[in-house]
């Protein structure tokens, strides 16, 4: 195992640029996109083309208005479209009788935040409409409001140290999301070394040697683990000590990162089972991997993705579990018990994927 590991290291030692690039990319992407909800205000141009536009303005502007970092400004349609086109607003919002449309010219995460807020307001209103049985919900809304002043049950959410509950920090989520996401590339490219060895004939040489097959795999996979783990650690350490991010209990972050890496290595191994050459892998893997953070909701507020199929796809990859567990540690001061489940899930994914992956790889001959 040791010589196999060492040979991979010697190869990479001469050109460490890819890893350095990935480390830089993780940091840069987090800084660029992670600041998004720290921008003081997002301005949303709101308009309506319905005949009762004035009525709608009164009703919805009131309902939408309760958000700290989004400012809603009513205007007419042309002006609203112009605002978006000229980039003065990220988003325009068209209000219809019981529905809305979001018009945007970019894909910035800020758009998701607006979408999330508007969606929530409209859904709540729709529920109230359904409950009241009429379109006039003011009465019911007030009633509910009154009722909630003296609720039968109160649930107090406190963080574990008794302080106020932290707001969801999109920047932190992107930090973990991007770092783990980019590490997935490193993992894939390193695991691909096995396929490369098989095609070049080196693997045959190893088979003829006294080294056991298990040791050959472990040599490669352990190396992949070390490189990807190192990459993530550098990024986290820079954020913690240079950029002063509050990452929470670092030992727990490290543990989650390790479980994630193991799990993802297995998934990469499974994917190599479906390709014949390292070149094929270079085509398949980078086109597959970027979809995972999207369906895992890494770029969005939690709860944005509700489609059960997408949720299922997200669940079978370790990324969502890893990011979630890290968020729990960094934001909510989760304890070891709280992160046990996601770690176990990741390891389980790992065991399954590795079992199937090695089986396919070995049978292919």
């Amino acid at each position: 195992m040791y010589p196999v590991f060492l040979a991979q290291w010697m190869k990479d030692k001469r050109k460490p640029y890819l890893i350095l690039l990935f480390i830089g990319l993780s940091i840069l992407a987090t800084i660029i996109f992670g600041d998004i909800d720290r921008i003081e205000q997002t301005t949303v141009a709101v308009y309506s083309t319905e005949s009762n536009a004035e009525e709608l303005e009164q009703k919805w502007m009131e309902l939408l208005g309760h958000h700290d970092s989004i400012e809603f400004v009513w205007m007419d349609q042309e002006k609203a479209h112009a605002e978006v086109l000229e980039g003065n607003s990220d988003v325009a919002l068209q209000i219809m009788e019981n529905d809305y449309r979001i018009i945007t010219a970019n894909e910035m995460p800020g758009v998701f935040i607006v979408n999330q807020h508007v969606h929530q307001v409209f859904t709540e209103e729709a529920k109230l409409v359904a409950a009241a049985g009429t379109n006039s919900t003011t009465e019911l809304r007030n009633e509910v409001g009154e009722y909630l002043k003296t609720p039968p049950i109160t649930i107090q959410t406190k963080s574990l140290d008794g302080g106020e509950l932290a707001n969801h920090d999109m920047g932190m989520q992107l930090l973990f999301g991007f770092t783990l996401f980019i590490a997935m590339f490193t993992i894939g490219f390193k695991v691909n070394g096995i396929t490369a060895d098989k095609v070049s004939g080196i693997w045959n040489r190893l088979i003829l040697s006294p080294v056991s097959k298990t040791n050959m795999y472990i040599g490669h996979l352990f190396y992949s683990f070390c490189v990807a783990f190192f990459q993530m650690m550098v990024v986290f350490l820079i954020f913690k000590y240079v950029l002063d991010y509050e990452l929470g209990n670092f030992a727990m972050i490290v543990t989650i990162a390790a479980a994630f890496t193991l799990s993802m290595i297995s998934v990469a191994m499974l994917i190599t089972g479906f390709v014949k050459t390292p070149e094929q892998f270079y085509m398949v893997y980078p086109s597959l991997i970027p979809m995972i953070p999207v369906v895992s909701g890494v770029y969005m507020q939690p709860g944005t993705i509700t489609n059960p199929i997408l949720q299922f796809i997200a669940d079978i990859f370790p990324l969502s579990h890893g990011v979630e567990a890290m968020m729990d540690v960094a934001l909510y001061n989760a304890g070891w018990n709280d992160i046990l489940l996601p770690i176990v899930i990741m390891l389980l994914i790992g065991v399954l994927a590795m079992g199937i992956g090695i089986n396919i790889v070995e049978r292919k001959k």
Binding site: A7, M10, K11, I202, N204, R205, I207, P210
Partner: protein
């Protein structure tokens, strides 16, 4: 010491290797000759335990190696057809890697690496990356990597494909030395007739997955022993002469070559005098003639009806 018994491999309907019987005695240098696609690499893969035969057996000292390949792996050095090296590492680093993989003892590994580098003539350039090497140099490192653990049997799969004549000669010399000086048993695969002729005591000729002929060079040539080949050079070419020679009773075949004509006649028919006469009759002269020994190339042509092509 090593033998195959009705060794066969079928890939999805295609019989790549078809009931091959071969043997290698200790200290022998044996050639495995055949055109591309004949099944040489497949045979070697099965002998070296990398590929499971569809049927048949491989025996080392009488014991089947298929169930328990560890014994044969110990005594075998395999030089694969492809360059199985890390191109991003230097020649030295590659050898160190394979040495460790093959569990060459630490205290002698360094010495061993220098020895095999010396053998393939790359001692001076061991620090350079393999990817900067010429095709011939890569092939030499490829061989060196198979020698580190001092194998008793060395199997080489087309080790000279696509390289310059100098490297080729170097490789042939190296293999010859290994066989003659260290007594290593050699199985040398090639589709170059002259390499096998130069290197091997015994030859197996393969085509379409089967052994079509085998034996020492002399034995193989005796297949053609009923013919003489005469190479004739003329002062002036003449179609009429060609016709006249074709008409001779003892002549089997006449060929127009760049240098003159090539006449294949019945063994011992002594047609030289007739040729001189015939040339005079059509007003040209024989400037030079030479009795040619048949080559293994001719044997192959005779057996398969085709030439060994590159």
């Amino acid at each position: 010491m090593l033998e195959t018994i009705k060794l066969s491999k079928t890939f999805k309907e295609k019989k790549a290797v078809d009931e091959i019987d071969m043997y290698l005695d200790e200290g022998e240098s044996v050639g495995l000759l055949g055109p591309n696609g004949a099944g040489k690499s497949t045979t070697i893969s099965m002998i070296s335990s990398l590929l499971k035969p569809s049927s048949g057996d491989v025996k080392l000292n009488g014991l089947s190696t298929i169930k328990n390949p560890s014994e044969i792996r110990k005594v075998l050095g395999v030089v694969p057809q492809e360059i199985a090296l890390y191109e991003e590492l230097s020649a030295y680093e590659n050898l160190k890697f394979f040495g460790k993989i093959y569990k060459v003892k630490k205290d002698i590994l360094e010495e061993r690496i220098q020895e095999v580098l010396e053998m393939v003539g790359l001692k001076e350039r061991q620090k350079e990356l393999v990817k900067t090497f010429s095709g011939g140099m890569k092939r030499r490192v490829n061989i060196a990597a198979a020698l580190l653990h001092k194998p008793k049997i060395l199997i080489l799969d087309e080790p000279t494909v696509g390289i310059d004549p100098q490297s080729r000669n170097h490789i042939l010399e190296t293999v010859k030395k290994l066989n003659e000086e260290t007594g290593m048993t050699i199985l040398y695969t090639s589709h170059y007739m002259e390499e096998v002729e130069q290197l091997c005591n015994r030859v197996y000729i393969m085509d379409h997955g089967r052994v079509v002929a085998s034996g020492s060079k002399q034995e193989l040539l005796s297949i053609l022993s009923t013919e003489d080949t005469i190479q004739v050079q003329l002062s002036k070419k003449s179609d009429a002469l060609l016709e006249a020679i074709k008409g001779m009773a003892a002549v089997r075949q006449v060929e127009d070559t760049n240098h003159g004509i090539r006449v294949i006649s019945k063994k011992g028919s002594n047609i030289l005098a007739d040729l001189v006469h015939a040339a005079e009759n059509v007003g040209t002269q024989i400037t030079h003639f030479q009795m040619e020994d048949p080559s293994l190339e001719d044997v192959f042509l005779h057996l398969t009806g085709k030439t060994l092509r590159d």
